[in-house]
């Protein structure tokens, strides 16, 4: 079930456009926000708010990288796998993450803390190799720096970063 606040926010989005459908990607992101990912029920609820079918919403949801249709951990690490980072040895950062977290891309750690996903160029190339963790940008990554960042994040709750 969507909360009242979520419904109101979706309603406000829908009111901005000549067609309610236009608010779909926003609605999906709103439904995803509190849970971190978008389950079948949340997807159906968001679609219903806008008066469109779940199937139709599903086809949009799966199109976008930032809509997560599978459960994610407390913190989502988007590691850039694009060209500027790759050329500056971003692969070794990715390898380190895989090893440290014990997961492959798309996977979530056993303790449910971290999900590792690949990202297209984050636009942080001047600080390559780069990553975003819970929507916050980190650049100039080395394996040591990454370890320090992850250690710092361990105790933090989802959404803390966004409220900076």
């Amino acid at each position: 079930m969507l909360s009242r606040d979520e419904k109101e926010r979706i309603e406000a989005e829908a009111g901005r456009y000549p067609s309610r459908r236009a608010a779909l990607s926003e609605a999906l992101m709103i439904a995803q926000e509190a849970r971190g990912w978008l389950g079948d029920e949340a997807l159906a609820d968001a679609a219903r708010e806008l008066g469109i079918s779940s199937a139709s919403a599903e086809s949009v949801a799966t199109f976008y990288e930032l809509v997560y249709r599978l459960p994610v951990g407390e913190h989502v690490i988007q590691i850039c796998d694009s060209v500027s980072c790759w050329i500056r040895d971003g692969e070794s950062i990715l390898d380190h993450l895989r090893e440290r977290l014990g997961v492959e891309l798309g996977g979530t750690t056993a303790d449910g803390l971290f999900t590792l996903v690949p990202a297209g160029c984050l636009g942080l190339c001047e600080a390559a190799p780069a990553a975003m963790i819970d929507g916050e940008a980190y650049g100039g990554l080395t394996t040591e720096k990454l370890d320090a960042i992850l250690d710092g994040i361990r105790g933090r709750k989802r959404g803390d970063a966004a409220q900076r």
């Binding site: 779909l24 809509v67 060209v83 990202a119 001047e126 780069a130």
Partner: protein, 596 residues
């Protein structure tokens, strides 16, 4: 209240990710603590472009340019600069670490050959304060349009300026606007393409972070010109700081009557809304972007009809790139006469580029059209990092091609880059050195296109994966010369038959590297050799018995393990078991492990 000093802290994403906000907070705290709160204003600005040396702090009016500043330095900056009026020599940018000669900002080579039009306010004003934008003639272009010009005059002005689209294709901006004016219909829309999914490109992000009002002003001018009352900015969700700055700027513009009903007391009303892209490169393509705005899957549509005739909700729509719009704001403020003197005959104005890869000064630059690549890479960019040899530069991202050393003196224009088998694209420049393998890079870009292909049309869906498989064969030592011909054949077919330019240009990186580096492809195929050592499967590790002192470090690091040898005796690698992880190569302190 008049401040004696202004301290500008670069709070672009590049610097922010390296502690700029902490520096900002410490400066404010220190100013309070040292009792000089009223003598200094600390301001967060957009990117200075010189990200390599970030975080950057600039103090006005002394123009002191501090690099690689740390939060701990705040105390000294306030104590010296504000309290005593002296520069902190230690932090000033130095041309040469040894002589310790410091230089003023205008003398730094990085800035000398640049000409900042689009980025004129970035790093100069506080992007979260509309008054600072207005103080630098901001919104005077809008005022001029609303009260001194008819829509047709604006179009003429743009035509005289020679402005062409900065989103990739270089379509004349005036023509796009004119077609939209002439398209029948009451309701029209203005859309800004800030999706910037091009790998290696972040000019649009930095421009918005540093100067959001320029975009708002230009989109409003566009609305007035084409008769639209609503505009949308479609921006990637991965750009939180830019989104935040835009929201603040839109709110301030509304408060000042520069956006909303009856702008500046005229009869023209215009509203702007922000839409977030949810992560799909193909959504940067204009028809796909409009589909996505409508809440559908972001798939490209056949053209015609063009968006100018049938765009958002089938209404005539102008869709322009961020940089195109910002240029409009400048043209309307300074006039087409002034603007058209910059650049070459057919490519007017300036272009921003993002320098990344193996370049000494990575960062954002802006140069007049017609500037030579050599000037950008060597004078502004400081050449190759670590003194390695330049191999090539990729412009136009996954749609572009590689440009080699022999073309470095080519002046950059839309036409010249296309003639070189690349394209202007949005402005990412990825610099490669001798340690990079062009086949590997072509494979990388092709993998990107396989991932990002929306799958709607067969030539792209099938062609990109076929080409990727062939490149994979070559980089693993299983390729044949016939594969090279196949690559060229599929590439040409895909270029012709794809529905949108993602497929239509996906072959470019491959075709251009084959053209310029055929020898290297053949080495991979015939000799199973990768001269840069990037293609793992082709690399063979061995130990030079003369150099090896038998310390045993490599053997301890080898995960297999497959290195054997007595203490103080030369070690040997068992090649049949080696997994080519490279650990031994990294470990040896005597250069005894050889890779070839």
């Amino acid at each position: 209240m008049a401040y004696k000093n202004f301290i500008l802290v670069c709070a672009g994403t590049g610097c922010e990710s390296s502690k700029a906000i902490e520096i900002y907070d410490s400066l404010i705290r220190e100013a309070e603590a040292q009792g000089v709160k009223n003598d200094v204003q600390v301001v967060k600005t957009g990117c200075f472009g010189f990200c390599e040396k970030g975080p950057i702090v600039k103090v006005m009016p002394s123009e002191s340019f501090y690099v690689e500043v740390k939060p701990e330095d705040a105390k000294e900056i306030i104590a010296e600069q504000v309290v005593k009026g002296r520069e902190v020599k230690r932090l000033l940018y130095k041309k040469d670490e040894k002589t310790a000669d410091t230089v003023k900002i205008e003398d730094i080579e990085f800035y000398q050959k640049q000409f900042r039009v689009v980025l004129r306010n970035c790093g100069v004003i506080n992007p979260e304060n509309i008054d600072e934008y207005i103080a630098r003639d901001g919104y005077s272009g809008l005022e001029r349009a609303l009260f001194k010009m008819k829509p047709a005059d604006v179009v003429s002005e743009l035509k005289a300026s020679g402005l062409r689209g900065r989103g990739g294709a270089g379509f004349p901006t005036w023509l796009k606007w004119d077609l939209t004016i002439k398209a029948p219909g009451e309701v029209k829309y203005v859309v800004c393409n800030a999706d910037e999914g091009d790998p290696g490109a972040y000019m649009n992000r930095s421009t918005i972070e540093g100067d959001p009002h320029s975009l708002i002003e230009a989109m409003t001018i566009c609305g007035y010109t084409i008769g639209a009352s609503t505009g949308y900015i479609y921006i990637r969700a991965e750009y939180p700081l830019a989104i935040e700055r835009l929201k603040i700027a839109i709110k301030q513009a509304k408060e000042y009557g520069l956006l909303g009903p009856k702008i500046l007391g005229s009869d023209f009303s215009f509203d702007l809304d922000i839409r977030l892209g949810a992560g799909a490169f193909v959504c940067g393509e204009e028809t796909a972007l409009l589909q996505s705005l409508e809440g559908k899957r972001g798939m490209p549509m056949p053209k015609p009809p063009f968006p100018a005739v049938q765009g958002l909700w089938k209404k005539p729509t102008v869709i322009n790139n961020v940089e195109t719009f910002v240029n409009v704001a400048v043209i309307m403020t300074k006039g087409a006469d002034w603007y058209s003197k910059i650049g070459t005959e057919k490519s007017k104005g300036t272009k921003t580029f993002a320098l990344t890869g193996k370049i000494a000064n990575s960062g954002l630059v802006e140069v007049p059209m017609g500037t030579k690549l050599r000037d950008i890479i060597f004078d502004i960019g400081g050449g190759i990092k670590g003194g390695r040899k330049f191999k090539g530069v990729q412009t136009g991202g996954p749609s572009g091609g590689i440009i080699t050393a022999e073309s470095l003196d080519e002046p950059i224009t839309y036409e010249s880059l296309t003639a070189l088998g690349s394209m202007m694209g949005s402005g990412g420049m990825i610099i490669m050195d001798e340690d990079d393998c062009v086949v590997d890079i072509a494979k990388f870009y092709m993998a990107f296109c396989v991932d990002e292909s929306c799958g709607k049309c067969a030539p792209c869906r099938i062609g990109t994966s076929q080409m990727h498989d062939l490149l994979e064969k070559i980089t693993t030592g299983n390729g044949t010369e016939d594969d090279l011909l196949k690559l060229e054949k599929i590439g040409k077919a895909m270029t012709k038959a794809s529905l949108c330019m993602l497929g239509g240009s996906a072959a470019n990186p491959t075709l251009s590297t084959i053209k310029h580096f055929r020898e290297e492809y053949l080495e991979h195929i015939r000799d199973h050799k990768c001269r840069s050592g990037k293609c793992k499967d082709l690399v063979v590790y061995s130990i030079d018995p003369v150099k090896c002192i038998g310390c045993g470090l490599c053997a301890r690091k080898c995960p297999v393990p497959c290195i054997a040898g007595e203490k103080k005796q030369a070690h040997v690698i068992d090649r049949s078991r080696c997994v080519k992880c490279g650990e031994c190569f990294k470990a040896c302190k005597f250069g005894a492990v050889v890779k070839n």
